[in-house]
Symmetry: C2
Subunit: 149 residues, 2 copies
DNA sequence: GGGCTAATTGAAAAACGTTTTCAGTTGGGA
DNA sequence: TCCCAACTGAAAACGTTTTTCAATTAGCCC
């Protein structure tokens, strides 16, 4: 079942805050700013885009702190790095557990989905190549409902 | 059916050469050097690794030219950018047509495979999200036969 | 084979994105 | 309120990629 990232329980700023606190991280102003940016977006954003937006909430926010906060959020699983043709330098909100992204080629909006049954394919490929397959990585590209109009 | 990249017809230096010529590219010494490196490897290599190896064949080869040649080769479909956890800065030999890579987490060796039947999944995801899905991108991670020993 | 010309080259410099360093600041428990 | 480890931003360091430019070279034409 697919779910809108921006409205999933885990990218809600409150639950993110408590999740950080639970892991012993302090809830500082710049972190709050980055959290808000991530929670409010439906697009994948580069660190510097996130920095620009975070400054609207807390103008002193430094780019360095954005990098550090993204690292923490990725560790918590709240964001995921998104890999695109032009590089792998943006982050998208993510909910818990195994999930993949669909990215709109037009507006970069991102939606998560979980239906990825690759078991059959993995078996075949293992048989053909002799590799022991331990993980996979899948992204879909397309056009979102908004941009189709 | 899976195929060893290094032995596929398209990463063979000769056919690569004629392919370049067909597109109006000149066959210069540094390009030959990069071609040989790509044709001979079974791993995914970063531009600077490729540069280091290319210098064995033509010592004057500049790193800039490696970047430029990789761009040309990617355009011809002879190499593909490989995306890994630590970044997306390496290239793997690629044969023609739609294919994906399996990358060994231990030695970075790369094998291609073509069995990717995602049609069913794509249909489901389209229904659930409203996105019109136009492409996908899949990489498998695992341990190659050599490293399993 | 020799010469011509556009494509290609390497070195240096610029431009990026990311990480490290460090002295000063701050969140949140005692 | 005080205290201290966690955290911060500015500056500098760093590695990768791109741009610039004068010199070189591949391959066509004669």
């Amino acid at each position: 079942m697919a779910s809108q990232s921006a409205s999933s329980p885990d990218s809600n700023p409150d639950s993110l805050s408590t999740q950080l606190a639970a892991r012993g991280y302090k809830l500082t102003r710049p972190r709050r700013a980055v959290l808000r940016v991530v929670a409010e977006t439906r697009e994948s954003l580069s660190p510097s885009e996130i920095h620009a937006r975070a400054k609207k909430f807390y103008p002193q926010t430094g780019l360095v702190t954005v990098y550090r906060t993204l690292e923490v959020l990725a560790e918590c699983g709240a964001v995921r790095k998104v890999h695109q043709a032009d590089g792998c330098h943006s982050y998208a909100p993510a909910s818990e557990g195994h999930a993949h992204h669909i990215i709109c080629e037009n507006c970069h909006s991102v939606v998560e989905f979980e239906d990825c049954d690759l078991a059959e394919m993995v078996k075949t490929v293992q048989r053909h190549t002799g590799y022991k397959i331990e993980g996979h990585w899948l992204e879909l590209f397309g056009v979102c409902p908004n941009c189709r109009r």
